[in-house]
């Protein structure tokens, strides 16, 4: 900040000084605008998922019927053995792995490595699509074989199916939107848009979104499948 426009500001100490220092810069955060905007959006989105999960906990606690047993509902048969939570373990692995490839893409973006960045983003998008595909499989198994419906099921109270489809569906929409977002930005990386612009920060902004979607999944996983 140039001093010529800052007149007669006495140096301040303590908390007052922290507030003054924070307020005195032209930009509140020394990062690009898109990144600030994404952080604020993610804060807002955090509140959406918090409300969904709080609502879920509330209906689960207040319903009188016995909740469905997740180990039994979400199991997969391999040959003759029922393995509890097998599919969901694979899905979680896939999504966490995609966070790893995303982080590598950000790294290669800042190194201006166009082709590797594109490839890693497409791998990330592919893993995300794979996650959504497995979720579709899980849903169809629940609906067609177990007979779970949003308005009721034999496995538990009506809220079980309702809240499960709503929250995982909302998260699945986030992942799907992320896959599209990743593909669009990957295409722009590939055709040199960010080289011309002079910065690869958008790759990091996509990365923020993607890591957030993964983080939300960890909470959904814990609260739906392990509780």
């Amino acid at each position: 900040m140039a001093t010529d426009v800052m007149t007669a500001q006495a140096p301040a100490e303590g908390l007052h000084g922290v507030a003054t220092d924070f307020a005195a810069d032209k930009q509140a955060f020394p990062v690009p605008w898109g990144k600030v905007m994404m952080w604020i959006f993610l804060l807002s989105d955090t509140f959406i998922f918090s409300c969904f999960l709080t609502g879920y906990m509330n209906v689960r606690i207040s319903t009188t019927a016995k909740w469905a047993n997740p180990s039994a509902v979400f199991s997969l048969a391999i040959g003759q053995t029922e393995v509890p939570l097998l599919l969901i373990a694979i899905m979680t692995m896939v999504l966490i792995t995609s966070s790893g490839t995303m982080a590598m893409a950000v790294n290669f973006g800042y190194r201006r490595n166009r082709s590797v960045t594109t490839a890693l983003m497409l791998v990330t998008a592919g893993l995300g699509a794979c996650f959504v595909g497995m979720q579709a499989f899980e849903w169809s198994k629940l609906i067609l074989i177990e007979g779970v419906r949003p308005w009721g099921s034999a496995l538990g109270p009506p809220q079980f199916g309702a809240v499960f489809f709503m929250v995982t569906g909302f998260h699945g929409l986030h992942v799907s939107a992320g896959v599209v977002y990743l593909c669009v930005v990957a295409m722009r990386v590939w055709n040199g848009f960010y080289d011309r612009k002079g910065t690869y920060e958008t790759v990091e902004v996509v990365g923020l979104y993607w890591h957030f979607v993964d983080l939300v999944w960890v909470f959904i996983f814990a609260l739906f499948y392990l509780w």
């Binding site: 500001q9 955060f29 509330n58 009506p158 909302f170």
Partner: protein
């Protein structure tokens, strides 16, 4: 930074001025045009809500004389009136309208940080309004669940609009939240990142602080409304039971079971209470600037005013259940929420004291904006004091669902913000159009509105203390004193007059556009940056070739030793414009 985007750029050649009518006024990315689009749409739908309220008043004042509406229509009118006024008028007008217009101009930027997103925000808002209006024409009409949309009755048979109307309402709210999020992200990022050189956070006008904080509240509170809207839409269309307990309704039992109506109330009010401050904080900010400008005196205690806005914003998230004292709650929770509610009165009272102290020994010009700003102080103190009554559990319980509550929230979040809206319209109209509004019509509009709202809402407190319940179509068989009906008649007549007085404003807006006196760039002799633009109305890009540089805070009025009684923010320290300390800590 490697590149500089449009809002922050000195070079005017990079700005492409839109030429055709369509890109200039319809699909415009200019924050000023978007602000006007937001404003006009919000006022248009607000007029619908105003007419609905007058229809309701005719029914209450003259129950047998008119047969305009049936009891079910009354519920629909009350619901749509409330929802439109709170969300589609006040929220959209303060944030989409004034936020869009003032933030870049007052912060010294060329535009919002992402103008395209800003444009999309308006068109999505328009879609939300259209879906809301479609609700009036679907089979069964709009929802009649009350603006709080409490389940189970909102989606049960017997409530008007329980099949189609409620779904239109919920979808419209969802679309509105998407629109608000796109706009809100822009406002917050612009304030944080795209101010001009020298415009530190603690030099921003309080209007910007109020709008900025309200937008953050919106971004954190609307999620709860979105979630409850999604859940209730599923309850009413798919047949889930989030909010629907097992019950018998009109002789048959729906298939729902095991849901929790209280969950909806918590989610709704977690949104609903911050919403009060989403409407109030921009009004607080704007009124501070109006008072300071027209009293030719710096705002008293600027730094405290900023911290009070932030403190109110934080506290507004931990008071929501004071709307639910009668819903059935652990008494200790009632104690907690009553305490937090009363704590909010501390920063709020601080602001009121500072407004009054700003006027103290000021050079008060009773211009039309100033009249509305002073009127706001009256109505806000009035509505705030009844808020202390309702914040206490023991006082609230007997007053719940009576006209006392109606009077309270209309004074505090209906009339008060609307008076600020009017003041702000008269204040900034010269910048938006380059013309002054007619002074006589403005004064007429003020006095009828200001005295009229007291004639409407003061008697309602008395009705509430008598126990007259709200949301009733008629009181024919209830044995209330004769004064109740007489007062209802008087209230209705006052409401009709105040409603008609708003036509004066509309006429004045159109008349002054063509016949108004040219205003010049800075008719109020104000310090803030929006009055220092090279053109009036400001052109695309706001600042001409060079961005402004800010040297002082926004309130350098009547500075001793200065040649003029105001020093604009972009005037460097010099012999006729002494340097000041930057903010009000020295006074």
């Amino acid at each position: 930074m490697a590149y500089v985007a449009m809002a922050d750029r000195d070079d005017p050649h990079a700005l492409h001025d839109p030429q055709s009518f369509v890109t200039k006024y319809i699909w415009s990315q200019d924050h000023k045009v978007i602000a006007i689009q937001y404003g006009v749409t919000a006022i248009a739908i607000g007029l619908v809500a105003l007419v609905l309220s007058l229809v309701m008043r005719l029914q209450l004042g003259f129950p047998h004389a008119f047969s305009l509406i049936a009891p079910t229509d009354y519920y629909q009118a009350i619901t749509m009136h409330g929802m439109i006024m709170v969300i589609y008028l006040l929220t959209a007008l303060f944030l989409g309208g004034f936020g869009n217009y003032l933030i870049p101009l007052m912060c010294g930027s060329r535009d919002m940080v992402f103008p395209y997103l800003n444009m999309v925000s308006y068109w999505v808002y328009l879609l939300a309004v259209i879906v809301l209006v479609i609700g009036f024409f679907v089979p069964g009409g709009p929802t009649g669940a009350g603006w709080t949309l409490y389940p189970p009755q909102a989606v049960s048979k017997g409530t008007p609009g329980a099949t189609w109307g409620i779904v239109c309402m919920l979808i419209s709210l969802g679309i509105f939240i998407v629109a608000f999020t796109m706009g809100g992200l822009n406002y917050v990022t612009t304030v944080l990142q795209a101010r001009c050189r020298g415009m530190t956070l603690m030099r921003m006008p309080l209007s910007v602080w109020g709008i900025f904080t309200a937008t953050i509240l919106g971004l954190l509170a609307f999620p709860a409304l979105l979630v409850s809207a999604v859940m209730m839409t599923l309850d009413s269309t798919v047949g889930t039971s989030f909010f629907m307990p097992a019950m018998v309704s009109m002789g048959h039992s729906p298939t729902h079971s095991g849901g929790s109506p209280l969950l909806f109330q918590h989610l709704f009010w977690f949104f609903g209470h911050p919403e009060v401050y989403i409407v109030a904080l921009p009004a607080f900010g704007i009124v501070s600037d109006l008072l300071s400008t027209h009293a030719r005196r710096h705002i008293f205690g600027y730094r405290m005013m900023v911290w009070a806005i932030l403190a109110i914003g934080c506290l507004s998230f931990v008071v929501w259940a004071h709307h639910m004292y009668v819903s059935g709650m652990n008494p200790y929770f009632g104690f907690f929420f009553a305490t937090t509610t009363l704590i909010i009165a501390v920063p709020t009272a601080l602001k009121v004291y500072n407004w009054v102290l700003t006027l103290w020994r000021g050079d008060i010009h009773l211009t039309v904006p100033m009249l509305f700003a002073i009127g706001f102080i009256f109505t806000f103190i009035h509505g705030g004091l009844t808020g202390l009554f309702l914040g206490n559990v023991t006082v609230d319980v007997p007053l719940s669902a009576t006209y006392f509550v109606v009077a309270h929230f209309h004074m505090v979040m209906g009339v008060s913000p609307i008076l600020v809206v009017f003041g702000a319209v008269y204040h900034w109209y010269p910048k938006i159009t380059g013309k002054m509004m007619n002074d006589f019509l403005g004064r007429l509009h003020f006095w009828i509105t200001f005295l009229g709202v007291y004639a409407i809402y003061l008697p309602m407190h008395y009705l509430g203390i008598l126990g007259v319940p709200r949301r009733y179509y008629a009181y024919t068989t209830t044995d209330f004193p004769q004064s109740v009906q007489e007062l209802n008649r008087a209230i209705t007549i006052s409401a009709l007059i105040v409603g008609a007085a708003q036509l004066i404003l509309l006429y004045n807006l159109v008349y002054s556009l063509f016949r108004g006196k040219p205003s010049g760039p800075n008719p109020w002799r104000a310090t803030t940056l929006e009055w220092q633009t090279p053109d009036t109305p400001p052109h695309h890009g706001n600042w001409g070739p060079k961005l402004p540089v800010v040297y002082r805070w926004a309130y350098d009025y009547s500075v001793p030793g200065a040649s003029d009684d105001f020093i604009p923010q972009n005037v460097p320290p010099g012999p006729t414009a002494p340097a000041t300390h930057g903010h009000g800590s020295d006074t």
